[in-house]
């Protein structure tokens, strides 16, 4: 289950604290810490101009209860692969996909009668930004999904009633995963857990990140690199695969610098959208506004550039540390590629 905030509200660790208190209020006893690590793997392309037939990304998952194992989830193909943990080394050596964004699920594990409950937050490994709140409920005596459905639904009802008393701005939501699509049987395994993480991630991504409440300083530079062909509005995510350099470092930065490729190959493509069209950045981008942009305008412009098929690189500006909050590109867009 994941926490679905009410529209217009933001996530906070207070919600997690309240949720933990709720588990304890219905008899949950702390049974250690809980930690899972989910990684987005993205392809490494030799030539951005050549069309590709590989996925934009896939997920890797390390579960605390299976320390020697690692799971890959390839959602478009409905595949969940179980492997020894050493598969991560193999992926690294192949240099075909790179671990781009890592999300940690951290929290507490509770014993609650025959149930095991885990509540925790979802945070990127390279920052403290709260991306979501997750909850896992397991009914220990049964491993049949069908047979345990009713008892879990009853638990869920009690849980919703308990948490609703806190008047929190949102609710926990359970999205049913279609295990059969992945060829999984009724007997619950860690493969099922991996699929649930993938489903939950899709929901967190769809819900989107918390929007910054302060302006973000944006510095725009131009740089001669390859330009992706114009993709059109329907596939504007594709160029996101170029969002690579310095992503991990960027999330630790107070500020994000966008280096925009132009290269002049496409001439001056028309940028979809109206009022924010602005002047197309030319070499040196001297005529592109530098300085602080309002967040909404910032993201709108960025998206428009992506629609136009530009490749982007993100690097932190180490020389200009600002005190304003930062929303990094991988938080707001990189994961959206899923």
């Amino acid at each position: 289950m994941h926490w679905q905030p009410k529209p217009g509200t933001t996530l906070s660790t207070q919600i997690l604290t309240e949720a933990c208190q709720c588990v304890e209020s219905i008899g949950g006893q702390k049974d250690g810490r809980w930690r899972s690590v989910l990684t987005f793997y993205k392809p490494m392309q030799r030539d951005a101009l050549v069309p590709v037939d590989h996925p934009r990304d896939f997920l890797g998952l390390a579960l605390q209860e299976q320390p020697a194992k690692y799971y890959f989830i390839l959602r478009p193909n409905r595949i969940v692969l179980e492997a020894d943990a050493s598969i991560q080394v193999i992926m690294e050596k192949l240099q075909s996909y790179k671990a781009r964004v890592t999300l940690n699920f951290e929290g507490f594990q509770y014993k609650l009668g025959d149930f095991q409950v885990r509540v925790g937050k979802c945070v990127p490994s390279a920052s403290e930004a709260l991306r979501g709140i997750m909850m896992e409920v397991e009914y220990i005596p049964l491993s049949s999904i069908d047979k345990s459905r009713q008892v879990l639904e009853e638990f869920f009802d009690i849980w919703q009633e308990t948490i609703s008393k806190k008047s929190l701005p949102g609710h926990f939501m359970h999205i049913e995963s279609n295990f059969a699509d992945y060829g999984l049987q009724d007997r619950y395994t860690s493969h099922h857990t991996a699929v649930q993480y993938a489903t939950c991630m899709a929901q967190l991504i769809a819900a989107g990140p918390a929007k910054p409440v302060h302006p973000i300083p944006v510095h725009v530079y131009s740089r001669r690199t390859k330009i992706l062909p114009s993709k059109g509005a329907d596939s504007w995510m594709a160029p996101m695969q170029k969002l690579s350099t310095g992503v991990a470092a960027a999330s630790q930065s107070k500020e994000v610098v966008l280096r925009i490729s132009d290269g002049g190959v496409l001439g001056e493509p028309s940028i979809p959208g109206g009022s924010d069209k602005g002047q197309w950045p030319t070499e040196g981008t001297r005529n592109w506004p530098r300085g602080t942009l309002a967040p909404t305008r910032y993201w709108r412009i960025l998206k428009q550039w992506l629609v136009a098929g530009l490749s982007l690189e993100v690097t932190p500006d180490r020389h200009h540390i600002s005190s304003v909050p930062c929303v990094t590109v991988e938080e707001s867009f990189g994961i959206v590629c899923n």
């Binding site: 490494m44 030799r46 595949i79 493969h191």
Partner: protein, 217 residues
């Protein structure tokens, strides 16, 4: 990492080799029946083209799958002076949908073979595995039941031993020492540096076979 040497032996002498190995190793042989699929990255995928091997162990009642990545060999003057190749190898046991997974990632099947034979695993200065196999090709995709030997008269012999950066010298010494016991029957060398068949093999094999006839295993 692993230390590895390879060689070839005429099929007619494989029985003699088995007798010799049985005597040297003192352990029962294991059947080898491995379907090996070599996948290569599709066009434009990866910083450099990459290759991965999927091994399906068919000798077990339930086939099990392993992903194997063979890295570059150790280089330098030190490496040149030893007769054993030292290279990085990473393996991972995986679920049986691994082929579909790698296809999904954009990898393509380059070739597949079926290796049939036997192996001995024993400890002699290091944990050593010696496999004697015949490579089979498949007339149709994945048709392992119809597989035919590629070189009916030749078997491949491979000795591997896992090692670390700290102990590979000792492991190399152990592998080299073991190779000497096999010298009358076959010559083992670094992969890719074929030493061919050994001239003394026929005589050595005949001697082994006559000895074994009087001393049943």
């Amino acid at each position: 990492m692993e230390c590895v040497v390879q060689g070839i032996i005429e099929t007619q002498h494989v029985n003699a080799l088995e007798i010799l190995l049985h005597g040297l190793c003192g352990v029962p042989k294991e059947q080898v029946r491995v379907h090996e699929l070599c996948l290569k990255s599709g066009p434009n995928l990866g910083v450099v083209p990459s290759e991965v091997r999927l091994l399906c162990d068919l000798a077990q009642p339930t086939p099990s799958w392993t992903v194997r990545h063979v890295g570059g060999a150790m280089r330098g003057s030190g490496a040149d002076q030893i007769s054993v190749l030292v290279r990085t190898v990473v393996e991972s046991k995986v679920s049986n949908n691994v082929l579909r997974f790698f296809y999904g990632l954009g990898y393509k099947l380059d070739h597949e073979i079926l290796k049939v034979g036997f192996a001995f695993t024993f400890h002699r200065g290091a944990q050593i595995v010696i496999t004697v196999t015949s490579a089979h090709k498949m007339p149709k995709l994945h048709a392992i039941e119809e597989a035919l030997p590629i070189t009916p008269n030749i078997h491949m012999v491979e000795i591997t031993a896992s090692a670390t950066a700290e102990n590979y010298n000792e492991v190399v010494a152990a592998v080299s020492a073991f190779c000497e016991y096999l010298a009358p029957l076959l010559h083992l060398s670094k992969p890719g540096v074929s030493a061919g068949i050994v001239a003394t093999a026929t005589a050595a094999a005949a001697s082994l076979m006559s000895n074994s006839a009087s001393k049943p295993l």
